[in-house]
Amino acid sequence: MTPPSIFSAWSFANIGMLAWGLAVGIPIAIHFWNRRTQQTVRWAAMDFLLTAIDKQSRSIRLEQWVLLALRMSILALLAVALADPLMTGLSMLQFVPDAKQRQHTVIVIDTSYSMATQSGDPISNNQTFFDLAKSQASDMARQNRQGDGITLITLATSPHAVIGSVAFEGEDVVREIEALTISNQGADLAATITEVERVIDVTARRHPSLEHCRVIFFTDLGRTTWGEIQTQNVQRLIAALAAKADVMVHEIGEPTRDNGAIARLSTATPLAPVHRPATYEAEVHNHSLSEQRRRVEFLVDGTAAAQQHLTIPAEGTAIASFSHRFDTPGQHVIEARIDRDRLLLDNHRWLSVTTPTSIRVLCVAGRPAAARFIALALNPQATGSADFQTDVVAEDALLDSELPGYDCIILANLSRLSQEEVQRLGDFVRAGGGLITVLGDQVQADNYNDQLTNAASGTTLIPATLAELVRGGPHRLDALQYQHSLLTEFRGHEQSGLLTLPVWRYFKLRLLPGSETALAFANGDAALVTRDVGRGRCVLLATAADADSIDLSSDPQVPWSALVSWPSFPPLVHEMVKFAIGGRAARQNFLVGEPWDVAKLGNGSEQMIVRDPLGHEEPTPTVNTSPPGGSVRRSGVYRIEQPGTDLPAQRIAVNLDTHESNLDRLAADGLPSQFIPEGDGLDASRGLGSDAQPSPLFRVVLAIVFLLVLTESTFTWWLGARSV
């Protein structure tokens, strides 16, 4: 650290105005001009004149010096006042380099969505904390000293060095700051500090003349972001950063907890068929410290459908729900919204749902009874009003079936599949259909591995290859803590029989990349695996789901499993079907920042148009892009259009992860000692720049000028009166 310089405590909003300071030469010039234009008199009474001069000379000289000093001071201070002087605060003296030392300033602006909180009165003031941060950072950039460099980084989930290579022109930085937009996510402090350190290192290598470095965070000190600071990892990162730069925090906006957010909008029946009512729930969280009454409004496809008033306890939640029955099949968007508060972004939430006419399931049976129990589990009454309409066909009827008329196809103990069949199934799945493959004693593993995992054809319809048959048992299942969404309904129902199901025979599965295990055996082998294919999903059960799969080679003969007779069988089949066909629905709802594999949504089409919630067209990754896709950045409803196909535009609901809605702040004095907190007099924006309002110092200087003018006038008058 270099010794502090008193001049570094000053800065000027309009430094060019200091040029008026040259006017201090005017009194001197007038003095010399007077000497040039003085009159000449031949004088007789010199004796008296010289005596008078002798008597007066000392006081006259003093008076003239005083007058000259007064007049020069007036002009100099006037120039200073025009330059709008600012004082950075005495604490800045502790770390600001001297005037000759060049410095690198890293401006870090918090773009987490809590910064979208409106400042002050939400009705009369539309400025958000983010606007304030940008304004104050811009002021700082404008005051950049010649030769000093600035870099700009966002404090975000994925921190981005907007200006990673040092900019020396303040206006360039201001343009970049003004172009910044707020993210719809939280922020990753550790990642940001790492990025800051990287930028500092790069800058130090490229610009060794920038001897001093400082990092200034413009942030609301939201606890969701800054709470990480207590972790050892972040403290270690901060210590490393502080060794390279002065780290400062400029807290933006005023603390507030006044915020409510819709944390969840969901339905228990995402695939409720047409005319079947479904209930939609909106979970509203009150982050404020007092009980609040909020109105929740539901909209269906943009039309108000219901509203409800909730009384939500302090820091608690309440759920509003409404029931709705769609009369037309297809895709629909449910929106829930609450009354306006200081943070608008989390007052809305969307849910994209698909309403089928009914869920039609085609069961292809490897032997006549292979799919009987499955069909029975889906439609026990065999009535037309059930949610699931099942058709059972024999193995050889697969090619004759109109697959696009079904939502899901279940292959039950098929011995083998032809290439043509695989081709048709592939088209079906990529278009969004669900394919469930249930193994059994007839399955020819080699044929499955060849046909259904044929990398050459680009079609993979099972999530894993089949290895050897595992005997022994009974093998029990492990739900893997019900993490897989397929098992969501089983959570909290440990007595459902899922975990007690005995299995004696199963194919050992070798998972393909991208596949997920929903259920496993106690020995760790996968039992139920899933995989997304195109718009559709594939599910593979490692054992049999029929009563006829019996291992004849063993003695005594044992069935593959007791699944069909077990109480968990019907719900498991239901959930498997729901999951398999839910590919479309799951791909219709994202959180901001979640991976967005748009290419998969395109059914292989390379012509896609993605429109964001504001209707702007976004660059679209294609299937050939590697990696395909990216992440969504804004909450709202996106539209994906495929001009080259007959497919209707998809509507994708993108919602916030509402952790950031908690506006609780970290107290500035809770920051580690490496930070120079605002409480010690740091004001980063004033430190380098100016307020939009005239600074108090400006008025002080003008007041001094006014006093000096009065003094000069009085002094001149007094001298004149004395000489009369």
């Binding site: 000449t40 008199v41 008296f48």
Partner: protein, 300 residues
């Protein structure tokens, strides 16, 4: 006091070419003024008798008056009708000063005064002499009362050029020693210089029984110091040049001037010397009138 004819204003006189012409104008104006004035002529036409005072020459005691009144009076009438007047004229460089508002320099103004006085003396058939000086006596015209003598006086005055430093006191002391016969000595000078020496010289003349009249000729600018702008003062009589802001110096300068004038005035009063301060913007007839009437009053 009567209003002076415009023709006697220094600004008008300045337009007249020769000193003789100026003197004639002044005297004529003065004489014309007498018709309107209760004053009578030159003050040396005083009363016939003067009260005796110790030291007076007893030869001039008027015994007849003594016999009638039992008081001692001196017969002076005859003697003073043969009055001799010496005009002592300062021609030092300081007399060349002419203020920015003045029509005449101090020298020219003093020349007019000297010529006018000479003219008046000669008109009364008295004798007038002229001594010009600076550090020393430059020219000396013995007293005379002929008709052509005035031309000589004016010629000497005309030729007089202001130069060199002044030493009025020294010159007056020298004159006191040289002028044997009691006479009227009129000193025309700005009296700038060594005041102590000046007063010493005046006292010496006074001790020699000369009737001394002092006319201190000053420019109005010297008395009021009216300058406002920074000014370079070029010193006359070998003083150095000075650049000064007159506004700052005015008070101190005027105090010095006041002190000087008061010293001179007081010194003259102590020696019973008639003194008058004359500013060069005063009409000359008024100066003559006031001075002579003042003198007449005092002599009576």
């Amino acid at each position: 006091m009567e209003t002076s004819p415009k023709s006697l204003d220094p600004r008008t006189l300045a337009k007249l070419g020769g000193l003789q012409l100026r003197a004639r104008r002044i005297v004529e104006g003065y004489v014309a003024g007498l018709h309107r004035s209760p004053h009578h002529g030159f003050s040396i036409e005083f009363a016939e008798h003067r009260e005796y005072s110790p030291g007076d020459d007893l030869r001039y005691l008027d015994w007849k008056v003594f016999a009638r009144t039992d008081k001692f009076y001196l017969k002076q009438f005859e003697d003073e009708t043969n009055l001799v007047c010496h005009v002592v004229f300062d021609a030092s460089e300081s007399m060349s000063f002419q203020g920015p508002q003045a029509a005449l320099s101090k020298l020219d103004y003093a020349k007019c005064l000297a010529a006018s006085l000479s003219w008046l003396v000669l008109k009364q058939q008295d004798a007038v002499g002229l001594i010009t000086y600076d550090q020393r006596v430059r020219a000396e015209l013995p007293a005379g009362n002929t008709a052509t003598h005035l031309h000589e006086v004016i010629r000497v005055l005309d030729e007089c050029v202001a130069q060199a430093q002044t030493a009025t006191g020294v010159v007056l002391r020298q004159l006191a020693q040289r002028l044997r016969k009691r006479s009227v000595v009129v000193v025309l000078s700005d009296l700038l210089g060594d005041t102590t020496a000046l007063l010493t010289g005046l006292r010496a003349l006074h001790r020699r029984q000369h009737d001394v009249l002092v006319l201190q000729v000053m420019d109005r600018a010297e008395l009021s110091f009216p300058f406002d702008r920074p000014t370079r003062f070029e010193g006359l009589e070998q003083f150095r040049d000075v650049v000064a802001d007159p506004r700052r110096l005015r008070t101190a300068y005027l105090a010095e001037m006041e002190r000087h004038l008061a010293t001179v005035h007081r010194g003259c009063r102590e020696c019973e010397i008639d003194y008058r301060l004359v500013a060069t913007d005063e009409p000359l007839d008024r100066v003559l009138t006031s001075f002579l009437s003042q003198r007449r009053t005092r002599v009576r």
